[in-house]
């Protein structure tokens, strides 16, 4: 092994005076900067903890209040024939309703939203694209109750006043969902490097195939995440579903006929019924707070469903992510 030295004498010991001078130069002598650094770090952590407090609190409250009513029976039974303070009833019908209506909303919004995003990123030029962007922005701000009224009014034109069915709720939710899907998909498509599009064009691949097989394929992970986020955004909506789908105690699998129950509406409904006046002489088992208990347990179920969806989204993301591993 050879040692490379830039100075004349090999192994020349550094001059102690110079060493001291260099040490003085290199030592972090700036006390003020160090203080600022400490303060800012403390502030960031403080803000983080402050942001986590409500999250942890919500999670804890829901779990603590919802746990003892939350069991297999609760998940697999409807509210049919349940009255008073009976220790019975569950959310099966509401889970079915929520899943079907949200699925319907996604089935409407994802194609429309994704195609809009593709138009905006890959094809849109000039006035039309600007107008589309503008209206998507406007749609983002629509209050959910207005979306519900819109969907109700739309279906009332064809089916007469008082129409209530699952698909109306899906339409209402899709009005809220479409702008979120457009926005997140647009962002993900813009992240695809232009080089990849040019690489495909240079191979003689037409534009539409490039969009499908290169742009969408490269961004599918991000698009999935975006869709999952938009589902999470609408799955907890209450007001539009109260108007469009209504309230029911029994199970309904048909999106196109009759009322359906959904989890947020179920929570609202149970909570608004309040305490049950119990008469010990008449009822063998009567729990005064049963409505509140069911509301909390249903809220817990809703949170779990959203978490599960996010988990699935993560898995899909990982599955489709571009391969970068060596």
């Amino acid at each position: 092994m050879t040692t490379v030295t830039t100075q004349a004498g090999p192994g020349r010991a550094p001059d102690p005076e110079r060493t001291a001078a260099v040490r003085a130069l290199l030592r972090g002598a700036d006390a003020r900067r160090r203080r600022t650094d400490k303060t800012m770090t403390a502030l960031m952590w403080g803000a983080f903890v402050l942001a986590m407090v409500p999250l942890a609190s919500v999670a804890w409250t829901v779990v603590a209040n919802g746990m003892h009513q939350f069991d297999g029976y609760f998940l697999t039974h409807s509210m049919r024939g349940v009255f008073g303070g009976m220790d019975a009833g569950g959310i099966y019908h509401a889970i079915i309703g929520t899943l079907l209506i949200t699925l319907g909303a996604a089935a409407i919004s994802v194609p429309i939203g994704l195609l809009t995003a593709i138009y905006l990123v890959e094809y849109g030029r000039g006035a039309l694209a600007r107008w589309v962007t503008f209206f998507v922005d406007v749609m983002t701000g629509i209050p959910s109750i207005v979306a519900g009224l819109f969907a109700y009014a739309l279906f009332a034109v064809f089916f007469g006043p008082g129409v209530r069915m699952g698909v109306v709720g899906s339409v209402a939710l899709s009005v809220l969902m479409i702008p979120v899907v457009v926005r997140s998909c647009e962002e993900m498509l813009r992240l695809v490097p232009n080089e990849l599009r040019e690489a495909a064009y240079a191979l003689g691949v037409p534009k539409w195939l490039t969009v499908i097989k290169v742009v969408l394929r490269t961004s599918v992970a991000g698009i999935t995440t975006g869709v999952m986020l938009s589902v999470a955004r609408v799955i907890g909506e209450t007001a539009p579903l109260l108007i469009t789908v209504g309230v029911v105690d029994s199970i309904n699998f048909n999106l196109f006929e009759g009322r359906m129950m959904t989890l947020p509406v179920y929570v609202y409904r149970q909570y608004s019924q309040g305490l049950v006046p119990c008469n010990d002489a008449l009822d063998a088992v009567c729990i005064p707070s049963i409505n509140y208990d069911r509301a909390w347990a249903a809220a817990l179920a809703l949170i779990l469903i959203v978490m599960l969806l996010n988990l699935v989204g993560r898995l899909v993301t990982r599955w489709f992510a571009p391969k970068t591993l060596r």
Binding site: R125, E198, T210
Partner: protein, 259 residues
């Protein structure tokens, strides 16, 4: 196989901005033509007009003709997608598709076009293209690994393999070595020398030694000043260009007395 390209009086615009003016040149088949010149003089822009890639940029257009064996590439009945299948391109930065394996990258021109290809034909195409790009021995044991896991020089050769797998007549290379180390550069240059037996090759380079090493003919582009259009100053056999160019500007640029 390789075709001759005849450019006549080509003006290239970005919207209203005239980027390159009045270029006429003849690109010989089965030879390497190098474009040299300072940055921003329109070499790459001109190169991209040879396979209609510049049209991808909104507002870009050309006046004049680019004829391949007498057929104007900008004629009304010519499909730009078909042009790009005949005139392949390799870009400055290696750009393998990140979602595809090495094998899939080579087959991209087939697969992305939804063409059916039997497994044996695909295997053959992958092997011959990777051989053609001098990459086969390095990757033959890991064809199913992602293309983005290769080194920069290997990625660039993968992109060349991908381009020649489409079996084009002409291969355009836009500074293919500018992001590579000297050893990878040498590998690409050797490859260019081999490829010219089969293809017409046009290469843009900032490296004048590279132009001198690999090309048969050299074209020098220059620009009068910012905002002015780039022009073709002169074009000649590489040996002549580097020993006794007819224009003073060429000599100044080549000898490093430019600007």
């Amino acid at each position: 196989m390789a075709q001759r390209i005849d450019v006549k009086d080509l003006d290239i615009y970005y919207s209203d901005f005239l980027a390159v003016q009045g270029v006429s040149m003849l690109i010989e088949p089965k030879s390497v033509t190098a474009f040299i010149g300072p940055s921003g003089c329109g070499k790459s822009t001109f190169l991209r007009t040879l396979n209609r890639m510049h049209e991808v940029i909104p507002g870009a257009r050309v006046d004049g003709t680019v004829e391949m064996e007498g057929v104007d590439l900008y004629g009304a009945d010519v499909d730009p997608v078909a042009v790009r299948r005949q005139v392949g391109m390799v870009f400055q930065r290696p750009n393998p598709f990140p979602t595809m394996s090495i094998r899939e990258n080579v087959l991209a021109g087939v697969k992305l076009n939804n063409k059916r290809i039997s497994k044996s034909a695909a295997d053959e195409l992958v092997e011959s293209s990777l051989h053609g790009a001098n990459l086969w021995n390095e990757v033959k044991d890991r064809l199913d690994r992602p293309g983005s896991g290769l080194s920069g020089g290997q990625q660039q050769r993968l992109c060349i393999a991908r381009a020649i797998a489409v079996k084009p007549q002409v291969l355009l290379m836009d500074e293919p070595c500018s992001a590579l180390d000297p050893i990878s550069t040498l590998a690409i240059e050797d490859l260019v020398a081999e490829l010219k037996d089969e293809y017409t090759i046009v290469i843009v380079t900032h490296n004048m030694q590279q132009a001198a090493r690999v090309s048969d003919r050299t074209a020098f582009f220059n620009i009068a000043g910012t905002g002015k259009p780039g022009r073709l100053v002169e074009m000649d056999d590489t040996a002549t260009m580097f020993s006794s160019p007819s224009q003073q500007a060429t000599e100044d640029y080549i000898s490093g007395r430019f600007g």
